[in-house]
């Protein structure tokens, strides 16, 4: 068993999803696997909460969905980043960096 995985803070899940999709369209399970992989297993996405976020992002128009066949001949719903989504990703990324930089400063100097 890997060491205790960290739960994702609220709202950041959306950011990670958008980032994951920036590379290429993915379906839900693949997204969850990817996040786990890339974070070197530190982040665990409660798999159930992935889908409400996906649907919400789709409603907001930042990602769009299409059904297609996977490599294993499975029928899956692929999500893809839209233009508006790309812009949103940039905005949120920079906001995140600013936030973490600021917090980091406080922690160092305090």
């Amino acid at each position: 068993m890997p060491e205790k995985r960290m739960d994702l803070p609220q709202g950041t899940l959306d950011l990670l999803i958008l980032k994951t999709l920036a590379l290429e369209p993915q379906h839900g399970w693949a997204i969850s696997e990817r996040i786990q992989q890339v974070s070197k297993d530190v982040l665990s996405v409660k798999q159930g909460s992935l889908y409400p976020s996906l649907h919400r992002l789709e409603r907001r128009g930042w990602i769009k969905a299409e059904w297609a066949m996977t490599k294993n001949s499975r029928h899956a719903k692929y999500y893809e980043l839209t233009k508006a989504g790309r812009k949103q990703l940039e905005a949120e990324e920079s906001a995140w960096r600013k936030l973490t930089a600021a917090v980091g400063h406080v922690l160092e100097t305090a």
Partner: protein, 874 residues
């Protein structure tokens, strides 16, 4: 946006997609674990744990679709409809109760308020006020205003845009074929302007025409123009001879112009002479005063201002004006007052309100009873995770469904009711006028619907209370066949039933009392026998009968002639004619500083006999009372009681301002005549012999042996046999006069009777509903008993006995609660109202009967059910 629409419209496909998507994820995750070496079952279990509940995830996804509210609403509606369909009895009773309550109340209220409330027909009645004098010492209100006071009010106020005066006047139309008596008014030039009206043809008065020599002009009413000029548009400039004086026609009013007071046929300019405006003339109060408020001035301020001016006048003229004041009120208020319908209207509203209450109580009872039976359902929902809000939402939707059905049906029934009434009231021209204007009062409709809907929603929420309070596990375990607590518990049931019965009795008694009071008020003793009485009016021409002795002689002859007519028992003259709404006047009493007020009548000898007014003390007038003998007077009971309580009346002297006023000795007391039917009969009256106070105008009254109407032509001929040039006007039976006055009040009474019957019906339905429901809940119990060997008839008897006991208890409580009601009514409406015991007895009996029947029918049905089925009945 489109996402939402898609979620709304293509819900099914979205659901399948969601399901497929989640399932795909789960499968792939499980596959991964299997490939990592787990057994399929373990992999599946692990995935389930990690994923979280699929249904929950689905629900969260659905939340993001943003259409939760609408989908929940449709869900609720469908569920609600299903529930209602499963309990057809309950649904039917609830909807019918609502519909009947709404329809009946609205229809009857609309009809009766049309009869009682005469709406003004000129613009902005809320801004038009009337000014009246009053005497605080004698609590006399609504006295007319004298000319000097009018001028002072007009000059000194700053709240009115314009103030006009109107003196009613009787004119005689001369110079045409047969002379005719006309009802007219002398008015100030701004009269129509203040009212907001203007002539349809020609022009309004000029200010210069209020001066002597310039006032020989006249404005005609539409009816007069139609009648005498055949609606000829070239009427302007023509001449009309009025009181033997030619008047130039300068204008004609449009049809439907009713000045607030009565049907006036023509208007001429009033002229205030120096005498009219003298200080001494302040006590001659003969003017109606109208005034239009300045914009943004409130009526209260106007009232205060007028009162202030009046008190200034009183201070500067203490002998005449002491304790006289003035007040102002809007025309609408005055017309309601003048018709003295306030009391009747209050009765009406009370009755309608009570019927509404009965309907609401029924609904409440039904809903509460049903709420108890839904405990299991509520427990289940809570156990499945329904939040309190969700439960309330669903219950509200159900309530709304019932409410909308009931309201819709009620509105439809209401319209039919009005339509039916329209075709039913056609017996005379007044009724036709009523039916033309009969309309469903929208305000009442909405109000009734709102109240009943509110009650439905409020009590429909009762199950929600159970849902949040009770432990869901216990509720589920009870399985609907709860034996402990809840409606099925016989104690709770008994309380409900007895409560509904008691409430029904109280409400029924209330409604019945309102109706009885209303009827009693209409039947207030007239004070004379109005049957077989014919009356007409004769107004002598001043030119030919200027001499008072000629007037007396004329009417003396008429009375003789009438006496000699076949079919006439007795005849006399009087002025004014009873039941013609004349105001009261000041009466001085010998030896007192303060004057009295009374209605003044000038009558012939034999008048009281002809009218069958009882003589209580002393004597009536006789032939011996004439112009040469001592002046005498007769007073009514109310006058004696008011001004001579516990003292000798006869022998005192009074002074009345009639023609040739003189101190008269009171020689007799007679019964009181009701000035306005429907009100308590205690207006003081003073009578004087016409031989001592002759007048140009007199009403003839003749009591006939048989049908009064048949004598009409004879009466006319009798008058013309004395003088063929004198007009005979307003020839009618006294009962017609009465109907003219009180309009459709018998119609209202009939309608109110229908209201009471409806109250009864509604109560019956309510009681039946609750009891039937309660008995049906015992079906299970009945099944057990029968299965254990009880005879069906025994079971039936047991239920009936218990039901009978409950009825007794409920009725007893109801009766004891309603005991103080009749006294309360008599106290409030002080009409010497006796009775109400009748209402009590009827209400109790009716309720008891319905309760027994309501117990019997469902009980019998329940015993007929096969025990095996009954046992499984939930």
């Amino acid at each position: 946006m489109f996402y939402r629409l898609r979620a709304l419209l293509r819900r099914n496909s979205m659901e399948t997609e969601l399901d497929a998507e989640l399932r795909a994820h789960v499968e792939q995750q499980a596959e991964k674990y299997v490939q990592a070496g787990m057994s399929p079952e373990e992999a599946a279990r692990r995935v389930r744990l990690e994923f979280g509940g699929i249904e929950q995830v689905k629900e969260e996804c659905r939340d993001t679709w943003g259409v939760r509210f609408v989908s929940e609403l449709t869900q609720d509606i469908r569920y609600g409809l299903r529930q209602l369909r499963r309990n057809p009895g309950f649904t039917l009773i609830a909807v019918i109760t609502l519909a009947l309550g709404i329809a009946v109340n609205t229809t009857i209220f609309s009809a009766i308020s049309l009869v009682l409330l005469k709406k003004p027909t000129f613009p902005n009645p809320g801004r038009l006020m009337m000014v009246f004098a009053n005497n605080k010492a004698k609590s006399d209100n609504y006295l007319l205003v004298s000319a000097p006071n009018f001028i002072d009010f007009q000059r000194q106020n700053d709240v009115f845009d314009g103030m006009a005066a109107d003196a009613d006047h009787g004119f005689t139309l001369t110079g045409t074929g047969s002379p005719e008596h006309l009802i007219g008014a002398e008015v100030t030039a701004n009269f129509f302007r203040v009212l907001g009206l203007s002539p349809a043809i020609g022009r309004d008065f000029l200010f210069s025409e209020n001066e002597p020599g310039r006032n020989a002009v006249v404005i005609l009413s539409h009816g007069f123009w139609k009648q005498h000029f055949a609606s000829n548009p070239n009427v302007i400039g023509r001449t009309v001879e009025i009181d033997d004086q030619p008047h130039k026609v300068i204008g004609v009013m449009s049809s439907g112009t009713d000045t607030p007071l009565q049907q006036v046929q023509l208007w001429t300019p009033v002229v205030f002479t120096a005498n009219d405006l003298s200080e001494a003339n302040r006590s001659f109060r003969n003017l109606y005063v109208f005034a239009r408020l300045r914009p943004s001035v409130k009526p209260e301020r106007a009232r205060a201002e007028i009162a202030a001016i009046a008190s200034r006048i009183a201070q500067s003229q203490p002998e005449i004006e002491k304790s006289y004041g003035a007040s102002a009120l809007t025309v609408q208020k005055y017309m309601t007052r003048a018709a003295q319908v306030e009391a009747s209207l209050t009765m009406l509203m009370g009755a309608v309100g009570f019927v509404l209450l009965i309907a609401c109580a029924n609904i409440a009872g039904l809903l509460l009873a049903r709420a108890d039976g839904r405990r299991q359902e509520m427990a289940l929902r809570v156990a499945l995770g329904a939040g309190r809000v969700r439960v309330i939402q669903q219950l509200l939707t159900e309530g709304l469904l019932i409410g909308l059905a009931g309201g819709g049906l009620g509105a439809v029934l209401g319209f039919w009711g009005i339509r039916f009434l329209r075709t039913a009231i056609t017996w005379d021209s007044y009724a036709l006028y009523l039916s033309r204007n009969l309309r469903l009062d929208a305000a009442t409709l909405w109000f009734t619907i709102a109240i009943t809907l509110g009650a439905t929603l409020l009590f429909g929420l009762a199950p929600a209370v159970h849902a949040s309070k009770s432990d869901p596990v216990a509720g589920l375990k009870e399985g609907g066949r709860s034996r402990t607590g809840g409606f099925a518990s016989s104690r709770m049931r008994s309380v409900y039933v007895a409560g509904e019965i008691a409430l029904s009795v109280v409400l029924l008694v209330g409604a019945g009392l309102f109706v009885e009071t209303f009827i009693a008020m209409q039947d207030q003793n007239l004070g004379f026998n109005s049957k077989h009485l014919i009356t007409a009016q004769v107004s002598l021409s001043n030119r030919r009968y200027g001499n008072t002795s000629k007037q007396a002689e004329f009417f003396g002859n008429i009375t003789e002639k009438l006496h000699n007519l076949p079919g006439v028992e007795s005849a006399s003259v009087a002025w004014p004619r009873p039941l013609s709404i004349w105001g009261s006047q000041t009466v001085r009493i010998g030896g007192r500083i303060n004057s009295a007020t009374a209605h003044i009548y000038v009558v012939g000898s034999g008048y009281f006999k002809a009218m069958e007014i009882p003589l209580l003390k002393g004597r009536e007038f006789s032939r011996l009372d004439n112009a040469r003998s001592a002046n005498v007077a007769v007073v009514s009971r109310a006058f004696a009681e008011k001004y001579f309580p516990n003292r000798n009346v006869i022998g005192n002297r009074v002074l009345v301002k009639t023609t040739e006023p003189a101190w008269a000795e009171i020689v007799g007391i007679v019964g009181n005549v009701n000035e306005f039917p429907g009100q308590p009969n205690n207006d003081p009256q003073v009578y004087e012999p016409y031989t001592q106070h002759p007048s140009l105008n007199m009403a003839l009254v003749a009591r006939t042996h048989y049908a009064a109407a048949a004598c009409a032509p004879l009466l006319r001929r009798a008058v013309w046999s004395v003088d063929k040039d004198e007009p005979v006007e307003h020839l009618m039976t006294m009962q017609e006069a009465e109907t003219e006055l009180v309009g459709g009040e018998s119609f209202s009474t009939g309608l109110l009777g229908a209201l009471a019957a409806m109250a009864l019906l509604l109560s019956a339905i309510g009681i039946y509903g609750v009891i039937a429901y309660s008995v049906s809940r015992r079906t299970h119990e009945i099944g057990i008993r029968t299965a254990l060997g009880a005879q069906k008839s025994d079971v039936l008897q047991m239920i009936l006995k218990q039901g009978g006991l409950l009825t007794l208890v409920g009725c007893a409580i109801g009766i004891s609660l309603s005991f103080p009601l009749p006294k309360l009514f008599a106290g409030m409406y002080g009409s010497g109202f006796t009775g109400g015991q009748g209402a009590l007895a009827v209400a109790a009996a009716a309720v008891a009967l319905v309760s027994i029947v309501a117990t019997y029918i469902p009980a019998r049905r329940a015993t007929k059910v096969d025990p095996m089925v009954a046992l499984r009945y939930e």
